[in-house]
Amino acid sequence: MATETLARPVASTANPAVRRKPGRRMTPGRVVVLAVAALLAVLWLVPFAWATVTAFKSETDAASPKINWIPPSGFTADAFVKVFQDGNIPLWTWNSLYTSAAITVITLVISALAAYALSRIDFRGKKVLMTVIIASIIVPPPVLIIPLFYQMVALHMIDTSWAIILPQVIHPAMVFVLKKFFDQIPRELEEAAVMDGASRMRIFLQVVLPLSRPIMAAVAIFVFIGAWNNFLWPFIATNDGSILTLPVGLQTIKSAYGIQYAQNMASALLAALPLILLFLFFQRQIIKGVATTGLAGT
């Protein structure tokens, strides 16, 4: 908790009572608010619901021009069985999982080390380095795809997982986010360790990192979601079906299944499932993580 108030000092002055005024009765105004919120929620849930209903229909029912929320010939899991028999979704899920995990771990390690240097160590060229890193936040990834592709061909990395992972580990904005957090950790905490003759690396690992868990989690969540869902670069860097990530694999399914709507929706839902499950379990952390890192730039 101590570090959380550190990160956002404003949070302590905001009173949660603003949101939840106790003892408030249902006034007409609140009924309207509730109604509008509910309408929006329904609109936002309809695509999920319709995809789910479609996925559990037979292909014949799914392609019926009459819209049925309850299919005439009953619900069936045939589409899921077919999708699993084709065998690619589990493989692609695994590919997405380990590439995204690798991207997240590498990003965290290299960004935290660099951020610590920028926050705590006075070294020659620090200002220039800081300026260059901040300036690079504006480089849009689509600008790099052509030269990166050429570079990957030269490095013989095209169609390997390295091509997916390596170019995605640079998040200058996250270095900046971490540096800002480290800046707020009182230096006194480190001075005792310095007196004991601890090395910089030990201070970083044993003093700074344990205090930085909330921000590390926030950065990890942000990077992981981005990597999991990234389409453009993995789409360019890979052709080989066995190393495709989920988003790219789904694109090939779309053309393969064509008008098999139930199977299309079953594949889409299976692809959506891992992150949705993760969100259900870690809702608080994910919302907090996105809110803290979000404004730093994407």
Partner: protein
């Protein structure tokens, strides 16, 4: 990682110096230890930054510079012409109606998507901030789509937009409205993409707004309540003004995000019908990988980059003026 290990070694050896000077605080020892401290800091600083710097140089700085070089050559995937042709690619791009059309599509999408993506997010956050029960349920429904890959969103919406079998046209028919060809109508397709994008990413802006609203000090509202200001009045006289900096940031981030539009369009319409939705990123992709003209494609990338830099500079100027 090896570079970090060496820094630890040098640290270990040097660490004895401050200890010495502490025990014997005579004047000549001080500058020496300060000097040692400084060189140690120089070494440590660069060693800590080194792993990031390596990736940064290889996968960001180098491609950025190499792309600029490529844009000055006739390079192609077939390896036909590697020679430097100066600014010819840029001259060709600036006279290329397809380039302008795709750039126009990107700008059109940015303009018509940013407004709903900010306004709807604000409305959602304001509704929740009133204090509805079951907060997690609302957050889940508004934010969940943001966790989906673009391909999933495209599959969902292509299916719902289906002219004959789609849910949306069925709903329109039920309330007596004519059917719409959504993704097949050049006049409507971009709006269809905006609707799908709104559903997909508004949850992100919604979360940023919600976090900002919860940071508004309660005293403001208490004072207003004592003055007899109602909820509506409080929203316009306290919440909105307090959110102004957040709104500026969200709008600018949204503009930058919208300018990069590619995934949904490529997946839902492939840029069609008749190029009506093709964004500039898709044109870069197509000239490079379908047309094999890497040099020309790199030149268009840099024109696009120029646009992004221009918007970022405006952002910088606005935020700096705010903080000054």
């Amino acid at each position: 990682m090896s570079s970090v290990a060496t820094s630890q070694d040098s640290e270990g050896r040097a660490a004895s110096l401050p200890g010495l000077s502490r025990r014997k605080p005579s004047t000549p020892a001080r500058p020496a230890s300060a000097l040692a401290q400084r060189s140690r800091d120089n070494l440590n600083g660069w060693a800590f930054a080194a792993p990031f710097l390596v990736f940064f140089l290889v996968f960001l700085v180098w491609p950025l510079l190499y792309g600029m070089y490529m844009s000055l050559t006739g390079k192609s995937l077939t390896g036909a012409n590697d020679s430097i042709i100066g600014l010819a690619n840029y001259a060709e791009a600036l006279a290329d109606p397809d380039m302008w059309h795709s750039l126009g599509n990107t700008l059109y999408f940015t303009v018509i998507s940013t407004v709903p993506l900010v306004v709807v997010a604000l409305v959602m956050a304001a509704l929740l901030n009133v204090g509805l029960p079951a907060q997690w349920l609302w957050r889940l429904s508004y934010f969940a789509p943001y966790l989906l890959a673009s391909t999933v969103v495209s599959l969902f919406f292509t299916w719902m937009y289906n002219p004959q079998l789609g849910l949306i046209n069925d709903a329109l028919a039920k309330i007596g409205l004519p059917k719409v060809a959504w993704l097949n109508d050049p006049g409507v397709a971009m709006w269809a993409i905006v609707i799908a994008t709104l559903w997909w990413t508004v949850g992100f802006n919604f979360l940023l707004y919600l976090a900002a609203m919860q940071n508004i000090p309660a005293q403001h509202y208490e004072a207003a309540s004592l003055d007899g200001a109602g909820a509506w009045r409080q929203f316009f006289s306290i919440t909105l003004p307090q959110l102004a900096p957040t709104t500026v940031m969200i709008v600018l981030l949204q503009i930058l995000a919208s300018l990069k539009i590619f995934d949904q369009v490529y997946q839902m319409t492939a840029g069609g019908p008749g190029g009506a939705t093709r964004p500039v990123v898709q044109y870069i992709f197509e000239t490079g990988f379908t047309g094999y003209r890497l040099g020309y494609s790199a030149a268009i990338s840099y024109i696009f980059f120029g646009l992004i830099v221009a918007v970022s500079v405006i952002q910088f100027l606005i935020t700096r003026r705010r903080s000054a």
